[in-house]
Amino acid sequence: MLTSKNTLCTRQKITGSLAVILVSAIVIAGCANKKPPVTAGTGTSAMTQGDDFSKHLEVHNTDLAKRLFISDVKSRKSNDLLEINLTLTSRYEKSQKLQYHFNWFDEAGFVIEAGKTPWVPLELHGKQSTTLRGLAPNINVSTFSVYVREIPEKAYKY
């Protein structure tokens, strides 16, 4: 009688543990990706042609800043349009999936082509330095800013 009670107790314990494992599995598998991805990045505040870019640098994501930095921002007028060259350098030995985008403003600081400049995907290889080009959508642009962030992909874990 005592033996069968013990067996029953053990069975219950096993069932209990299984249930706990099941709950944990469900929680981990089902709810783990509910958190929105980190989309903060690094960029510059609005700057004009000839400005020192280092004074305009803004880092909003320190994790990303450890792997990536903006090493140069150059601008000039080409065919009356403001042309930007942005040099991105990787501090990381693996490839990074990134996206970048420019914002354009006129002399008074008003946004031009709001919400129309696309985020451009970019694969930056380990320790690579690459130059990205941006061209103002029209001749009224005098100020610009740029922003770089990661492509939020669930499969990418660093």
Binding site: A19, I26, A29, N79, E113, P118, P121, N138, A155
Partner: protein
């Protein structure tokens, strides 16, 4: 005590299972953000192709000379879709021509609306409802000086673990009078899809 634990666990399981069940949620997203839903030609590819081609055209020294004192008139011939997918190439040319037009450097004639314009002019002249002195005149339109045309082709390769698609987009600008190709450029896109061992 054990029963209580079991009941609590089962209850929690139900709560979590219900909480984690596949619910369809509608959200607004950023139309310009990078989209990686699948390997087919997507909004990011369209935006990238249009932006790169427009930038390249506007930056070229030849176009600098062409647009120095005038805004040349262009028309867009359709893009040939040589890929294995169905792609709305008119949408790509629409984006490119809109960007070029908004840059203030070029003007366009729209060959897709010639019939509609003709109908309207016919109505103005023959409909008997419009004052003949105020009707828009026939034969006053400006002809295009340049033609924009191009190709979109793809190479698709896949094995059981990985798919790879490569798009090449070529765009050319032809002077209609001389027949010379004044500018050309191509842009490439590579997309890969691989199975990841990590689930989340």
């Amino acid at each position: 005590m054990n029963k209580l634990a079991l009941v609590t666990t089962l209850g929690l399981t139900l709560v979590f299972a219900a909480g984690c069940a596949n619910k369809s949620v509608v959200r607004y997203g950023d139309a310009t953000a990078v989209e990686t839903t699948d390997i087919n030609f997507g909004s990011t590819d369209l935006q990238k192709v249009a932006a790169q081609m427009t930038d390249s055209l506007l930056l070229s020294p030849v176009v600098g000379t062409l647009t120095q004192n005038t805004r040349p008139v262009m028309f867009v011939e359709r893009l040939k879709n040589k890929t294995s997918e169905h792609i709305d190439t008119e949408s790509i040319t629409d984006s490119i021509s809109t960007k070029l037009l908004r840059s203030g450097k070029f003007r366009f004639v729209d060959m897709g609306r010639v019939e509609a314009a003709r109908e309207q002019l016919k109505f103005q002249h023959d409909g008997g409802m419009v004052d003949p002195n105020k009707a828009t005149q026939f034969g006053r339109q400006i002809g295009a000086q340049y033609m924009l045309y191009g190709n979109l082709s793809s190479i698709v390769k896949s094995n059981q673990d990985k798919s790879d698609v490569y798009y090449k987009f070529t765009l050319r600008l032809m002077d209609l009078e001389s027949g010379l190709v004044e500018w050309a450029d191509e842009t490439e896109i590579r997309k890969t899809k691989a199975k990841e061992s990590v689930g989340w």
